[in-house]
Amino acid sequence: MSRSLLELAHTAAPILGLTVLCLAHAAFCRWRRNSEGLNGLVWAGWAGVLGVASVEFFLWFRGVPLPGVLASALLVDFPVYALLAYGYANFFNLGESSVRVRIYRELVQAGGRGLDRRNLLDRYDEEAMFRARLVRLVAAGDLEKTGGRYRLGQVRLLWVARIIFALQRMVLGRAG
């Protein structure tokens, strides 16, 4: 296999992974009739990993030495796929939980009439926002409710929160 073809295959691997992720996520959402937030994304993410792995397997099958395939996969292909998958996850999550996107959608629907600020603030009831988040987090297993108390069910979002707050301090000079 020529060097150019090999490099093209390594370029294509994460893009194929992202394509598989998008298709899997779309299929999941359409089949389940809702997104189930993070869980659907995780399943789709793993499907994307299989997409990347299939390219690596193909290269090895075509005679590329295994150490070279593994090195490229671990150092380049999977990290680039992880970045693309992360970008997709955030793109999706903008529509899932972003108040800004929801407000923007209502403004698009209102067209030239605009929206009255006071009505907007009344409509976006803080209690409804709070309850929506609790329901979503419990459904995804990120929170558990037992005996009337909420506690963390999984720590994945806690790690995300810690990283985000650390970056806020570093980049924006504030945290929370």
Partner: protein, 156 residues
């Protein structure tokens, strides 16, 4: 480094657009250093396909950072809740205590201020309107949710 220094001096109005240009520009500035570096390490020079691979990696990093930056700016209520619960460990919190924490900030007012700062909305005489130029990212999100994923209206 340029990003960090610039933001410390004065945050630009369209921060995300600036970042989308800044990172690829930085990569282009660093690109001439790659051939001598590869030569010093006794590695073969990159062909056109190799440079394409680098471009995809730079693009992936740029997009990942820009979406992370959006999360930095926005003060996610969800992550705030998670972090607050994380501090209380296995004991957890009662719903009222969580509610009290959540209501410490008026999230909607903050979001409206953020939309105004990003020049996505204008406010006139107590009414809010979309800015004349469409915000393509949010429009893309809404299109993708409704047409590709077929998700019912919701979220927020």
């Amino acid at each position: 480094m340029v990003h960090w220094l610039w933001w410390r001096w004065r945050r630009p109005g369209r921060a995300r657009a600036v970042l989308l240009v800044l990172f690829p520009l930085g990569a282009l500035c660093l690109a001439p250093a790659v051939p001598p570096l590869l030569s010093a390490l006794s590695l073969a020079p990159l062909g056109w396909a190799g440079w394409l691979n680098v471009a995809v990696a730079v693009l992936a990093f740029t997009l990942a950072y820009v979406v992370t930056y959006s999360a930095l700016e926005a003060d996610s209520p969800t992550l705030g809740l998670i972090r607050h619960l994380g501090k209380h460990g296995p004991a957890g919190l009662e719903e009222d205590a969580l509610r009290g924490f959540f209501r410490e900030k008026s999230h909607v007012s903050l979001r409206l201020a953020a939309l105004a700062e990003e020049e996505m909305i204008v406010e006139k005489e107590g009414s809010i309107y979309l800015a004349p130029h469409p915000y393509r990212l949010f429009r893309a999100v809404l299109f993708y949710r409704s047409r590709v994923l077929r998700i019912r209206e919701g979220g927020g």
